[in-house]
Symmetry: C2
């Protein structure tokens, strides 16, 4: 595992390298510490802040972003990095130290390309944009959000230009690199095009089957307070540590926080469907356990950070789907549920519980989508944000283009913008280049779960007994604890022995859904 | 009112002064903006943070304190201040601009006396100290808190030495100046000594009276959820704006937040006594309305900040006592309460409600104390922190000295440290020199209320009808909107026509309590 940062001792490394590395790590930790204060403020904005606080909060976020950027681009960091890099022996191999130097070099080069004014403006406008988006969404009023979208598109195109578009690439690529190192629009298209075809066929078959799983449990009203207690029990059972984290309520579920010992997840409850809250909570708990599982001694350095959003999403999707929608999970969860809710949840069979978690039905809302149609939603967004970034799509034409694609990909008529292009928070936060990580994560999740199943005897059988610790421990040692030590693709190869592929996912999906639909 | 900062225009002021003043205000606002992020993190620590987050949070607070101090002590600030000061005409009188320059000079001189290391260490140790105190308190274990107390006493004595003890003064004075400009131990003693004597006589008379007000309502169990709804209604009725603030639950009620549009209050509920939550919520709402009432255009500059903790406390005590424990308030509140709680609160007479809010009974706990005994609790703390700061009292001897004084001043035997010297959060937060502001605020509150009664016709009669807006508006224009424009003593003179005196308070207290006890 190499040495942990901060306690570096070596007989072969020169004193000046050791000094430079220590100075570098100290600065990296300090920048991360300041950045982490902004994470708490973001969480607070979504969960606690009174509405009147938005202007001041945006100013706080702008200032923190500027100070953070100042720390990241301090010339002393460049000097320390160069000093470490000049020691060839130190930077060879994949020790924790060499990985930290490699990743800090990337971060520094990237940060110095951005003017401080842009960094601060993006943070301010994102904060306010998100707030305005929430208002526009609940008022179903795209016109109200449009000027903010235009400003955010403009700022992000400027950002892409500053970062530099890779040879043969496009502006979208420059932005996606932040979220998923190594990801370009071209590589995404290569994965998405055949995947879309296979999913289209599968969805068609499922929809035309005369046998469908029962949806009855999804139409059962359960009191929200009791749902919250139940969801907390499940999330704790699968391994989220509430001594080092929280679960609150917000319009859009998310997982934030500022440290492995202070992880903040949110979910949301609807009286009529426990599976909404249960699914989103297990999803966020997957993110949360990744954060809680980072190497504590490396916190504040790249090796103590999640490697990419795609890998992050693999953890959330794995707990939400491979676990939370599995046959054996419901053998445990069904009886727990009946004990907890008493009469309200009596009279359901195992097949009804398991079926309700796996009903496929094309709809308008991404976060409510089943596993088969989910990726179609992501593809729509990827295509649109790519066009927005290249300038080929004017923000004013977004609703029309959105609705046209929903008809084409999912066969549905979007009834209004609230359930259309205003549904997601991402663009309002200034996050362009983010969406494909949802599908990449979904593909990773199936591939990782295959490896876990091979590595852990009786893995799925254990779920029926409420045994989740072996899976969590495996994910921790294989994925969480490495942080950014390996690139996403190197990590995938290391954990699964193969490059990322859609095959495990399609095999998993078809293998589960076809029997449920008697195909 | 003069000009608002940031929009300075003048025909007599030189261009260089205008430039310097604008630069000064911009830097002051930025420092305040960064400081305000720490206020949200402090609130979060007390209300939301999972226990595991404490170490990282302390580091965040240490870093923010250091960066904030760096901004406050930037030599460019000194230059801008000196430039403004050199323009005699600009700095004469009490315009908003001259007040800002005067106060920023004080802040700068004070900040530069403190080494950055001490600032950061105090912030870190205070955060952790507070956390350890909470643990020690609930475990009733003074020995666990003692090392933290020793460290905090040591750091604060160092701080006092850096700040410089005024001629003929003592270390406590240097610390008290932060909380109450112009306050010294000697001036406090001068106020406290005669006050103690008068209170001792009054308490003696009340305790030996054969007629006491009914305590029955304080022994009535009311569901906590319903209490929370009720308290929120009252707080909103007296004028706290929930669009620009929150009310949450914490062990120790407090009022924090980061801006006049984002004020965070807390309270606590006990099933057996609504008056606990009601009193503490009205108290915190008094603080909250002060913060919400600051001059918006001056936020981020001294004129947009509360002038002192004593004046702050005058606002909280006024709403808690002069309003919340008044006869006419209960003519409104009693029927509201009976409507809200239904059968649970039926069968109480007005006299029983009003009486229960005014029962006098010497006890151990400051925050539960009635108006007559409250100041005795404060005096105990003042004497002890003065001795701790001078070095005459060893922290290890604190429990003994605490208990001895409680016996002497309040005639009670403190049963344990949890209900003794571990009850308050202040010293664990590193706040020495703070306590007397509670009594000063209490005295100010009575004096201000007298002026309000003279200025507003039918003020108290209005309470019976739920009319609180005239009082709030008066406090806003007389006190809130001035921020630090006038010193506490100048403000008192301006608002009431007199220097601070105990007389209005004693007159108010005796005038209310003696009839309630049939004296």
């Amino acid at each position: 595992m190499g040495m942990t940062p901060g306690t570096l001792q070596s007989t072969t490394t020169s004193t000046s390298t050791i000094t430079a590395y220590s100075a570098l790590i100290q600065r990296a930790r300090e920048a991360q510490l300041l950045g982490s204060t902004g994470h708490i403020l973001s969480w607070d904005q979504e969960t606690m802040m009174p509405p009147g606080g938005i202007d001041h909060r945006s100013q706080q976020m702008g200032l923190l972003a500027r100070l953070h950027h100042q720390m990241l681009t301090d010339p002393a960091i460049a000097e320390a990095i160069a000093e470490c890099e000049s020691d060839r022996g130190f930077c060879e191999g994949d020790s924790i130290e060499s990985a930290n130097v490699r990743e800090l070099r990337k971060d520094f080069d990237r940060a110095t390309k951005l003017p401080p004014r842009l960094v601060s403006e993006l943070a301010e406008v994102s904060g306010k944009g998100q707030h305005e988006w929430a208002g526009a969404r609940s008022a179903n009023d795209f016109a109200r959000f449009r000027p903010w979208l235009e400003r955010l598109v403009h700022l992000n195109r400027e950002k892409a230009a500053c970062l530099g578009v890779p040879q043969g690439g496009e502006p979208w690529d420059a932005l996606a690199e932040t979220f998923e190192p190594g990801c370009t629009a071209a590589t995404v298209v290569k994965v998405f095009t055949p995947l879309r075809e296979r999913l289209r066929v599968l969805i068609g078959e499922l929809m035309s089957s005369s046998h469908k799983p029962s949806n009855r449990f999804n139409e059962t009203k359960l009191p929200v307070d009791a749902q919250a207690q139940f969801v907390r029990m499940v999330v704790e059972s699968i391994g989220f540590d509430f001594e080092r984290g929280r679960l609150d309520t917000s319009t859009h579920p998310f997982c934030g926080g500022s440290h492995c010992d202070d992880v903040r997840m949110t979910t949301r409850y609807t009286e009529s469907c426990l599976n909404d809250a249960l699914g989103s909570s297990m999803h966020e708990a997957g993110h949360g356990m990744y954060e809680q599982g980072l190497l504590r001694s490396a916190i504040g350095t790249p090796v103590g950070e999640a490697v990419s959003l795609g890998i992050h999403e693999s953890q959330s999707r794995l707990w939400e789907n491979q676990v939370g929608r599995s046959n054996t999970f419901w053998k445990w969860c069904g009886p727990q549920l009946q004990r907890h809710f008493g009469a309200c949840a009596a009279g359901f069979t195992h097949d009804e519980f398991y079926g309700a978690a796996n009903v496929v039905e094309p709809g308008f809302i991404r976060v409510d989508a089943d596993e088969a149609t989910y990726n179609m939603h992501v593809m729509v967004r990827f295509e649109l944000e790519r066009l927005l970034m290249s300038g080929a799509l004017d923000p004013k034409d977004l609703p029309g283009e959105w609705n046209r694609r929903y008809k084409e990909y999912l066969g549905v008529n979007v009834p209004d913008d609230r359930r259309g292009c205003l549904q997601d928070v991402h663009w309002s936060m200034g996050a362009f280049g983010y969406f494909p990580t949802y599908t990449l994560g979904t593909l990773y999740s199936a591939q990782f779960f295959d490896s876990a199943t091979r590595a852990i005897g009786g893995l799925e059988a254990g779920f029926a007994l409420g045994e989740f610790a072996p899976l969590r421990a495996w994910l921790n040692s294989q994925i969480h604890a490495h942080g950014r030590r390996y690139s996403p693709s190197a990590l995938c190869l290391r954990v699964t022995g193969s490059e990322l592929s859609s095959e495990p996912y399609l095999k998993y999906l078809e293998g589960k859904l076809r029997p449920l639909y008697s195909l």
